[in-house]
Symmetry: C2
Subunit: 196 residues, 2 copies
DNA sequence: CGGTCTCTAAAACGAACGCTCTATCCAGAG
DNA sequence: CTCTGGATAGAGCGTTCGTTTTAGAGACCG
C-alpha cells in the first residue's frame, strides 16, 4: 500500500475538519473518505474522535507552516513577503472554490467552551505561524518587541481576511489585507541593510 | 409575559450559535434555553433550524452593528475610534470568559459548503459592519476608494484578532490589532479638518 | 505447522439529532 | 355560553451520532 492507513485517516480528517468543522464531521465520514473502516480508526486512535482531530490539526498546522515559510522566503523584504503570503492564500482559496480556508479556525471556534486538547493544538499551530512571521521580521531588522506584536497582527489579519474572503467568495479581502499589511510594515521604515 | 416567546427564541439561539456554532447547537437546546417548547419553536419558525439560525444571525448582526457604531462615534479621529473598537471588543471578550466571540464567524465557517440562507445572512452582517467603518473613514476625510479597502481590512483584522484572542485566552491580540490598525490609518496622513 | 500479533471488517449499542404529530390551553368574537 | 384560531406542550418518528464489540485476515517467528 502506498500510504499507510493511519496517514490516510489523518489527511482525510484534516480536510474534512477544515471544511466542515469538528462537530460537523463524523467519524464514519472520516473513515469513508480515508478508504478505511471504523475499526481501523479506533485501532489507530483509541482516544476516539478527539484524538483523530488533534492529529489532523497538528498535521494541518505543519502543512500550513511549510506553505507560510515558503511564501515568506520568496521575498527578502518582509513587507513584500507578507503581501506574497496574502496573494498565495487568495489564489489557493479561489482554486478550492472558497471552501478550503484556515485549517484550524473552524475547529478552534467550535471547541472554545470545552477545554479539550483540540484547543491546545490550535493554539500551538497559531503560535507556530506567528513565530515564523516574527523571525522574518527580525531578520528584516525589526526590533524584537515590535516584531512580536506585528507578527500577531499579521497572522490575525490574514486569518480574518481569509474568513471574509470565504464568506464573500472573493479574493479582494485577502488582497486588500496583503496590501495594507505591507504598508503597515513599511511605515516602520527599517533600514533594509540592518539584517543581522 | 415580559418578552415575547419568539424574541426569547431568537436571543437564545443567537447566543448559542455564537458559542457553539450551527451544527453544535440543537433545536431542543434552543427551546430549553429560551424557556420555550419545541412546539413553539416550530410554530414561529416553520422553516426549522435554519430559519431560526437566520433570524438569530440577523439579530446578532444588528446588535453588533449598534455596538460598533457606538464605539466608532466615541472618538472623532478614525484611528482612535478603531483602536477604541478593539479595546471594547477585548474587554467584552474577557468579561465573557473568552467564549462570546464574533456572533457570525462560527456559523459562517460551518455552512460554507452548503449554500444555505445562513451564509447570505452572515455576508450581509459583515457588509453592514464594513459600511459603518467606511462611513467613519469618509467622514474623517479619507478618499472613497481607500476608505473601502481600509474598512474591509479593519473588519477582517478585528475578526481575526478576536479569534486569536479567544484561542489564546488573552486580550493582547485584540489590543495589538487596535494599535496597529490605528498606525495604519494614521499613515495616510489625512488632514483632520477635511471632514465635511 | 501452530501460535501470536497487528490490522481490518462490520454488526450493534444507547444517546441525541431534526422534525412531525396530536392534544391542550386560552383570550376574544359572536 | 359556544366557537375559533393562535400559542403551547410533549410524545414519538426515523435517522445519525460516537463508540464498543466480536470476528476474521494476513504477516511473522519459533
Amino acid at each position: 500500500m502506498q500510504t499507510s492507513t493511519r496517514d490516510r485517516i489523518v489527511v482525510a480528517a484534516a480536510r474534512l475538519l477544515q471544511r466542515q468543522g469538528y462537530v460537523g464531521t463524523g467519524v464514519k465520514q472520516i473513515a469513508q473518505e480515508a478508504r478505511a473502516t471504523l475499526g481501523s480508526v479506533y485501532h489507530f486512535f483509541p482516544g476516539g474522535k478527539e484524538a483523530v482531530a488533534v492529529a489532523a490539526i497538528e498535521h494541518s498546522g505543519r502543512e500550513f507552516a511549510a506553505l507560510l515559510a515558503t511564501a515568506l522566503d520568496s521575498r527578502p523584504d518582509p513587507a513584500e513577503a507578507v503581501d506574497a503570503c496574502a496573494r498565495l492564500l487568495a489564489e489557493e482559496l479561489r482554486a478550492s472554490g472558497w471552501i478550503d480556508g484556515c485549517p484550524v479556525t473552524a475547529a478552534a471556534l467550535e471547541t472554545l467552551g470545552t477545554d479539550s486538547e483540540i484547543q491546545r493544538a490550535c493554539a500551538a499551530a497559531l503560535h507556530d505561524w506567528e513565530r515564523l512571521v516574527a523571525d522574518k521580521l527580525l531578520r528584516g531588522g525589526f526590533p524584537a518587541d515590535t516584531a512580536g506584536e506585528l507578527a500577531t497582527t499579521v497572522i490575525s489579519t490574514l486569518e480574518g481576511a481569509e474568513v471574509t474572503a470565504q464568506v464573500r467568495r472573493a479574493e479582494e479581502p485577502l488582497l486588500a489585507a496583503g496590501r495594507q499589511l505591507a504598508r503597515l510594515l513599511r511605515s516602520y521604515e527599517i533600514a533594509p541593510a540592518e539584517a543581522r
